[in-house]
Amino acid sequence: MIERLARATLRLYPLGFRRRYEPEMLALLEDRPVGALGLLDLLWGAVRAHIRPPGSLAAQVSPDERVRLSASGVLLYWVLFAAAGFGYYKTTEDVPFSRAGHAHPLLGVAHAAVQALALIGSGAVLLGAGPLIALALARARREPAWRRMVWRAVWPVLGFLGLSAGLVALAHSGWRGSAGTVGHGLAIALSLLGLGCGAACVLACRRALLGLPVPARWLRNALVWATVAAAAMGLMAVMVAIYAAGLLSEAAGLASVGNGPFGLVSIGASLIAQLAAMTVLGALAAAAAARGWRRVRQPGAGETV
């Protein structure tokens, strides 16, 4: 089991790193199987390879592939950002927050701005990914191999929708346990499964995008919308910061109330954690988009279709 996980973890390394070192790393894993600590070491290695990629490995990835990786990277950060955003929405959806928003205009404006930016970001993701999805579907109609690849992205989406429907049905069923320990535990488990579905979908899309012949202008279009989504993420983080600061100073009583399943952390602490996640993910998305634009301007970019 751990051996399979270790081999799967290699897929989390940057493409250039994989192309250069994956065969050797697989050989090492065969010669010297790893345990749980070795698996964590591989995971940390993947994180480091993304944060500080060796410069010489850039040549392993063509400018065209770099643009595709940037677009799919922004999509991955968007999905993770959406999870943090959903947490923010659930934290601030109740009536006392609406009252606080009416009493303190800054809170109301920041909250409305987050929602508007979420719509803009979602629209940008759909506009960027739409043509590529249409292209993949058209190819899937002709080629069985591509049909399987498309289904790999569709299954997690269907799984996520099924989970969400189950959660909503459970919440409205009147089942007493939904507000108790079992219900809270179930909510956490379903949230984690939902996050897993999102990540699986993005990884499948990334794989499909790397193998799909795409007209250069469509790829550029995807990068433009990815940049819009990254900008929306950055602005949302700013708005959540304003909201959190406003709530902590103007409605301190509300900020200290317990939040989430089991109420283990206060609303203020939840908002700060959500803000931290949004800031990091927004910065990563901006960096991914910037890397894409740097490669678009390089000779050779966009020639492969």
């Binding site: 065969p23 050797e24 790393m25 050989a27 090492l28 964590l40 940390w44 290695g45 060796p54």
Partner: protein, 106 residues
Amino acid sequence: MRYIGERPSDPSVLVLTSLADGPKHGYAITADVERFAGVRLGPGTLYGALSRLEDRGLIEPLPAEDRRRPYRLTAAGSEALQRELEVLRAVAGQGLDRLRVAEARR
């Protein structure tokens, strides 16, 4: 002053030391490091160090044997390792001397 590693047990220093007596591939490096330093390098740490060292021109890959690719020190790598080990020897000597003096005072 440019450092190879941040501490004596830094993976980069361990890998360079392992390659000092000849080329080795990934498995041979980890086995060797475990033998002489008592440190087991995980695959992520090992290939992170190899990629950084290769990037800095301190080691170079040789043609792969099956999927196992040996690495060897470059001239720059030998010089860098020499400098690093001399610093470590000076630090170790200083530390041991000071401990001896402190011991004698007690």
